[in-house]
Symmetry: C2
Subunit: 396 residues, 2 copies
């Protein structure tokens, strides 16, 4: 093969490669999200990124299908879309399983989503998004729990209440106010204009009783950075009640982080039974920006891992030591190169090892070796058999 027909090593435009150092950050973020969401009793679900195109062609999101989705025709002449959002998929699944699933359901997923847009800062063609929803409850307790969960995720990342603000409104109340002067269709168009900041109307609405109760209940639970915002609209017309949007309060990054709301009619796309729902979506790119802006990403994401360097011995001579560590849930990477020990240390560091053991003929003969902490440079000698002491040193 000649140089001129070599392939480029770039990914497809607008998507990301996750090298191990990127993956450690992503895993840290997803792990924190998962632990928080599961602590509230949410159960994880997932689906394929491939969906029948019709799922996005209802009135609620036609604009997106036509202009921004990846939609193509498969070899069997079916029109397929790479999901641009998870809500239609989860509504489909909930409608499909409604006889067996016990409502209310608390469900979450961290799907990857696709939109065809010109790549630009923070606007990728593929991103990940936590979706957390409660299905089958009309109660404001569900709204309260969803907002509490959004709050808890950010505070579990170490955010202070002063770092962000939760704004809430009620899209149903807003639409009702508009419909005093116009019909349903005109009201939806006006809401869409308001969302884009293009409305010339100045609608004054009072805090609805429901919104007031939600804010009070949140304050009782110790959540005080929440306020009514009558200008809040949210893009999707499927929202029917409470809507929420979380904003970064940092003056350099003052923008919407994520949002959600109540959508009580979406499952009627599939059958006549209405299943009320409330939830939110939180994208990974915006979240990472927020965490970086506020200094909340830990510098080091490494879990314990031992690199076993070898000098003039065979990898198999390190096997028992490695397997003892592995049996105690400590990853152990054995050198299989002829590199000098200095280069093996560099390798250990590149591979995110936290500790190093060097084995040579001397160590094998005496059945003793030293474990070195690669961060603190602290080291300690252990006999081959003192496994629990080795583990304790590594985990401390």
């Amino acid at each position: 093969m000649t140089a001129k027909n070599k392939l480029g090593t770039e990914s497809y435009k607008g998507v990301r490669d996750f090298f191990p150092e990127d993956m450690r950050v992503r895993n840290y973020m997803f792990r924190t999200i998962r632990e928080t969401v599961e602590s509230f009793g949410f159960e994880e679900y997932d689906a394929s990124i491939l969906e029948p195109a019709e799922l996005y062609e209802s009135k609620t999101s036609q604009e997106i299908v036509n202009e921004q989705t990846y939609t193509f025709t498969d070899r069997g002449d079916r029109r397929v879309t790479l999901r641009p959002e998870m809500t239609p998929t989860v509504a489909r699944m909930v409608a499909s399983g409604r006889r067996e699933l016990g409502f209310p359901l608390r469900w979450y997923s961290i799907p990857n989503l696709f939109r065809y847009e010109r790549p630009q800062r923070g606007r990728l063609r593929e991103h990940y998004q936590l979706n957390a929803d409660i299905f089958g409850s009309n109660s404001i307790e569900a709204d309260i729990e969803i907002i509490s969960l959004a709050h808890k995720i950010l505070t579990n990342f170490g955010a202070q209440e002063s770092d962000f603000e939760i704004r809430i409104n009620n899209r149903g109340a807003l639409k009702n106010a508009l419909m005093q002067n116009m019909n349903d269709e005109e009201a939806e168009m006006e809401l869409s204009k308001m969302d884009k900041g293009n409305s010339e109307l100045s609608v004054k609405i009072e805090t609805s009783e429901e919104t007031r109760s939600i804010i009070e209940a949140l304050k009782e639970r110790g959540i005080s950075n929440v306020r009514f915002d009558q200008t809040l609209v949210r893009g999707f017309s499927y929202y029917t009640g409470t809507i929420l949007e979380v904003f970064d309060t940092n003056p350099d990054n003052n923008r919407s982080l994520f949002g959600g709301g109540r959508y009580d009619n979406l499952t009627t796309l599939f059958d006549d039974e209405q299943i009320p729902a409330v939830g939110f979506g939180m994208g990974d790119v915006t979240l990472r920006d927020f965490l970086e802006t506020h200094g909340l990403l830990p510098e080091i994401f490494r879990d314990p891992k031992v690199f076993i360097g070898t000098v003039d011995i065979k990898p198999k001579d390190a096997q028992d030591i490695a397997e003892n560590l592995r049996a105690n849930n400590i990853p152990a990477e054995i050198n299989i190169t002829d590199k000098k020990i200095g280069d093996q240390i560099k390798l250990a560091e590149k591979h995110a090892a936290t500790h190093m053991i060097v084995l040579g003929a001397e160590e094998l003969k005496n059945e003793k070796f030293t474990i070195k902490n690669l961060d603190t440079r602290e080291e300690q000698e252990f006999s081959f058999g003192a496994i629990s002491e080795q583990v304790a040193f590594i985990l401390k």
Copy 2:
């Protein structure tokens, strides 16, 4: 909306919805795989499912691109493929990062892969596949480690050596034997026929010295269900040396489970530097079949989770108890319905709770409640403040 224009709730053909009960099985499987692979020091990477179509159009896999991939043209007139396998992607990433990454690399990922085929038993259009590879080592130590890892994953699931067999061959040696009587192109065609069982040739090859050393080294490490199989070929022509395939030994399910091998030339698609590599891919559908056939899937996949039932009190009265449990890493789901307690118990069971607390006016007054284990029916009374005792009862 009238009944006749309702959407169906089925997923796109040939892909799967993962309801929470399916997700728990998938998470159990992936967790076991991850823990094993990471214990060997492998680092996780990932990439988008979208790749430039050219990546699959080299000689090595043209057949697949033409007949079996999802390939389409995006709105910017670029040809895009949903990745049908991970190896070209990881070769691309390794070639791209080769100046910074320290070789040898141990990398893994569990990507979802796409193939357009008529859906049939065990042949889905989307499946997940562990990919574990060592890059940058010519040593047979890398081959040995890859085979040891494949073996360890199955035994960590509880498989016995008698449940499966690892067959190995050397595709390079096989091809050299053929090339005594034909040219390169004819040899590749013959290998392809052999792979499909259509060859009329009877090629006798001896175990190469390399293969013999690998088998001996594995036996020294206690791996005895491995044997030389001169009929083994593997489909992909990019394999250059050792090839391996793992077979189920159960007479009712006697078939290939997964495989892999050494491919030393793949990064030369991108530049002139050859980076040797060896690895394997293990699909989730076949693995699950194997585990089920051998009774290795645990019946219950639930992690501890408490459902807090409420009788004539508000959800917020259960808040402190829930938050104490959550702070100790025990998920707690609070009832937000008006359901009777019998129905709340059913809900707890549907939502995979392992324990139940029932709170009413009496419990609030006395600051005492009972925790019931929903499997064993064992119960014990605790005071509100005895948090570590509550946690101990739940985790025991």
